[in-house]
């Protein structure tokens, strides 16, 4: 019956909302600080952020050198 499947769906939705409402949340200040810390620590190993020296770039085509 349509109405009973609607009720079943509504019950499931409420059940799901109960789960989502009950989680523990940390402060945005802590969340932000942790993101900033991670970026700060890992940034020095991030090739796209730091740039890649030509000699260490496997994608860069090595052009022949001419000695003038």
């Amino acid at each position: 019956m349509q109405s009973s499947s609607n009720t079943a769906r509504a019950r499931r939705a409420v059940q799901q909302l109960r789960i989502e409402a009950s989680i523990e949340r940390i402060k945005v200040s802590k969340a932000s600080a942790d993101l900033m810390h991670y970026c700060g620590e890992q940034g020095k190993y991030d090739p796209l952020l730091m740039g890649i020296p030509a000699s260490e770039n496997p994608f860069k085509d090595k052009k022949p050198c001419t000695i003038l």
């Binding site: 109405s3 789960i19 942790d34 993101l35 970026c39 940034g43 090739p47």
Partner: protein, 343 residues
């Protein structure tokens, strides 16, 4: 009808509770927290390689993991082919003809042994790259979705997760070809999924404008994130697994923190009015690379939410983007039929 009314009231109460609980922990904003952080300098990446070979729009690409298939990637095009590329030499390692040319997604297994794809055939086809006679063959066809396959990601050689236009995501046992878990809850087509770095969770973005965090083993939805004003087309994890980035047809990307259970910041610019098709964070997460319908990729400082670069080089929509697992290069795929490698 009394029960429906009660359930509706309880649902509204719970939604209010969640909104309140999120406000309670909002003691600052990310924007305020990074006020003293210097903006990343202008990022200028160059096209190092152009991968030519597809004859029609490219819809998806995925990098292999570094250890086993360094610098290999797979791409899917509506020319009916999956191509595995050696991005360093631009050689085609494999060109796999597909039964259905209406492909929308592809994935590389972490082991490097398999690739998968799917699309309007509603199936996820698994291909064994390391077959005995050297031929690449279909290993499994995972069929059960009642809508198109929008995305797929391997957990291992024996498990894969798919997202579908039928509004569900599914965890499959590849060996038996059966559904292990169905993740239902989205109210619109699921468009994209990403697996957490520890492989315990995954996130999905859908046409109901929300992103959902799922616990793979508990088979449950943990959290739902709203805020977007249109379909979410792209989704990814921040590298430490504690935050989620989404890209939407509403022309913005958003960063949601999992532990604070809320949106931290929106990446938007009054000059950008077209949808986000794809996104990928750089290795440290400091840069967010996002592909848009206007043929460009915008590079954002993820903390300061300001644009710090543009990748302009495609002659049509950028449909897919990925950063290699060692962070050394970014690959873009486009409706112009080319893939480009940038760094």
């Amino acid at each position: 009808m009394g029960e429906m009314e009660e359930l509706r009231k309880e649902a509204d109460n719970l939604k209010d509770q969640i909104t309140e609980a999120r406000k309670v922990v909002q003691d600052t904003t990310l924007q305020e927290a990074v006020a003293g952080t210097t903006l990343v300098g202008r990022v200028q990446l160059k096209t190092r390689k152009t991968l030519r070979g597809h004859l029609a729009k490219i819809y998806a690409m995925h990098w292999g993991t570094d250890t086993n298939c360094s610098k290999l990637c797979v791409s899917a095009s509506q020319d009916g082919k999956l191509i595995v590329w050696d991005t360093l030499t631009t050689n085609k390692v494999s060109a796999i003809p597909l039964k259905s040319s209406w492909v929308m997604t592809c994935a590389y297994a972490p082991s490097g042994n398999m690739v998968a794809c799917g699309g309007l055939d509603n199936m996820c086809s698994i291909y064994n790259l390391k077959g005995k006679d050297g031929n690449v063959k279909v290993m499994r066809e995972l069929a059960a979705h009642t809508g198109y396959l929008s995305c797929c990601r391997f957990l291992s050689d024996s498990e894969i997760i798919t997202s579908s236009g039928d509004c569900t995501c599914v965890l499959w046992d590849i060996e038996t070809g059966t559904e292990k878990t169905i993740f239902a809850g989205h109210l619109g087509d699921c468009m994209s999924l990403a697996v957490s770095p520890d492989f315990k969770m995954f996130i999905s973005g859908a046409c109901d404008f929300t992103a959902k965090l799922w616990d793979i083993r508990e088979a449950s939805c943990r959290q739902t994130f709203s805020g977007h004003e249109s379909d979410i087309n792209a989704i990814g994890f921040f590298p430490n697994g504690n935050a989620v980035i989404t890209g939407s047809d509403d022309a913005t990307c958003k960063l949601y923190d999992l532990r604070a259970d809320q949106e931290l910041i929106t990446y938007q610019d009054s000059g950008i009015m077209c949808g986000v098709t794809s996104l990928a964070p750089s290795l440290s997460g400091r840069l967010l690379l996002a592909g848009y319908d206007d043929f460009n990729v915008n590079i954002w400082d993820m903390l300061k939410a300001e644009r710090v670069g543009v990748l302009a080089g495609h002659d049509n929509r950028v449909s897919c983007i990925g950063v290699s697992s060692d962070g050394m290069a970014c690959c873009t795929g486009s409706w112009d039929s080319f893939l480009k490698i940038w760094n």
